[in-house]
Amino acid sequence: MPIMGWIMLAFGCAVLYGGLGICLSIAIRNRNRKEPKP
C-alpha cells in the first residue's frame, strides 16, 4: 500500500478512535456525578 494509504489509515484511526477515547474518558471521569437515575 502506498505511503498515503498508511497516512489516511492513521488519520482515520486518530480522529475516530482517538476522539472516541477522549469522549469515553470524559464520560467515565464524570460517571459518578452525572449518571441518570432510573
Binding site: 500500500m1 482515520g12 480522529v15 476522539g19 472516541l20 470524559i26 464520560a27
Partner: protein, 488 residues
Amino acid sequence: MTGSRDRWHSRTSFIMAAIGSAVGLGNVWRFPYVAYQSGGGAFLIPYFIALFTAGVPMLILEMGLGQRLQSAAPGAFGAIRKRLGWFGWWAAGLSAGIVIYYSTILAWAWVYLWHSLKLSWSGRTEQFFVQEVLQRSTGPDAMGPPIWYLVVGMALTWIAIYLILRRGVRNVSRVVMVTVPLPLVLLAVLLVRGLTLPGAMDGIRYYLTPDFGKLAEPGIWLRAYGQIFFSLSLASGVMIAYGSFLGRKAEITNSALITGLANCGTSFFAGFAVFSMLGYLAQVEGLPVPDVTDSGTGLAFVAYPTAITKLPALNAVFGVIFFVTLLTLGIDSAFALQEAFTTGFHDRWKFSTEKLARVFVLVAFPISLIFTTRGGFFWFDIVDKWICDFGLVIAGLVQCFAVGYLYDVQEFRAYLNRMSEVRLGGWWVIALRYVTPAVLLVILAMNVRTEILETYAGYPRWATTVGGWGTLVVLAVLGYVLWRRSES
C-alpha cells in the same frame, strides 16, 4: 408499565442502544463501497466534516429534544408548534415503514444462516440468491404468493422484535449489552481471517489509497453527508424516542459524540473486514479487485458468501459468523425503529409496552409478507428508495427548520450545556440553521431531478408511483389521522 415512563437502566445502556440503532447493515455493506468509490482514504475528509457539521449536531438535537420534552417525535414536535404534531407522527410513521421492509433483509439473513451450515450457494452464489432464495420474478407486477421459507425468516424476525420490546426499555437495556458488542467481536474475527489471506492487502489498498482529485467533485461531498445522515438513524424519530427515556438531568452532548464516533468507527473498521476478503476473492478468481467489489445486497448475499466458499478451511463456520453478524447488526436497528413509532402511542394513550409491541407486530407482520413474494424484492427496492431519498430527507429538513427557527434554539443550547460534559458552542446553531438544511435541500433537489428525468432502476412509472409516492402519501394520511385523534 401502563402510564409510567420507562427509563434506561443506566447511561451506558442508553449509549449502547443509540449505537445499536445507528450501527446497522449499512455500516458493513454501504460505507466501505461508498468510500472506495469516492476517493478511498480521501473520502474520510468530507466524511468527518459531515459527521461534525451535520451528524453530531442532528444527534444532539434529537436526543436533547426527546430528553427535554420527555416525549417521542409526535409529542415533541407538537410541543414546538401544535400543527407540527402531524409531522411528528409522519416521521414516526417513516420509522414504522422502514422496519417493515428492513425486516426483509433479516429474513434473507435467517435463510442464509440456515444454508451456511452446508454452504448451499457454493459455486452459484448469484444464481442462488436471485433464483433460489428470492425466486425473483420479472417485475413488480408479477408478485405471486409469499415464499414459505422467507415467511419463516420474517416470522423469526418479528418474534425476536416482540420478545425484545414487550418489556420495554428496561429489557432493551439488557439486550443491547449483547447485540451491540457481539457483531463487533464477530467483525474482528472476520477481519483477522481476512487479513491472514493472500491478496488481502490488495483489497485494503483499494479501500484506503486516497484520490484527492475526487474532493473537487461536489457529488462526493453530498455522498459524504448522505452517508452520515442515513447511517446515524436520523430524522426517523428513533433518537428522539430514545432520548425521551433519559432522566431530566441526563447528559446529551458527549453521549451524542460517543454515538456518532462509535458508528463511524464501526463503518471504518468494517471496511477492512470487507476489503480484505474482497482482495482475497479477487486473487483467487484472478480478477482485479474492482471486478469483485459490490455494495448492498450484492455484497452481503453474493460477493462475501462467494469469498467464504473460497476459504481454505472452516467455510461453514465463517458463513455462520458472517450471517450472525448481519442479524445482530440489523436487529437492534429494527427494534429501535419500531420503538420510535410505538412510543408516540404510549405518550398519548398510555398503552402498555407489551400491548404496543404485540399489536404492532401483528399488524406489521402481514404487511411485510409483500416483500416475501417473488416480486417482493422490487417492492422492497422501491419503498426503500422513496423512504430514504425523499421521506427522511424531507423529515430532516422539517426537523432542522422546526428547531432552528421555531424553537428558541439558543435557550435550548443553554439548557443542554447545563448538564453537558462537553460545552456546546455556537457552531451547533449554525449547523442546524444553515449547514444541514442547505445540504439536505440540495440532496432533495437532486433526488427530485433524477426522478423526473429517469424512472428509478427502469421500473414502470406506475410501480414507483404506487410503491414510492403511494407509501409516503399513506404515511402522511396515517400521520394526519393519528394527529387528529391525539388532539381530540
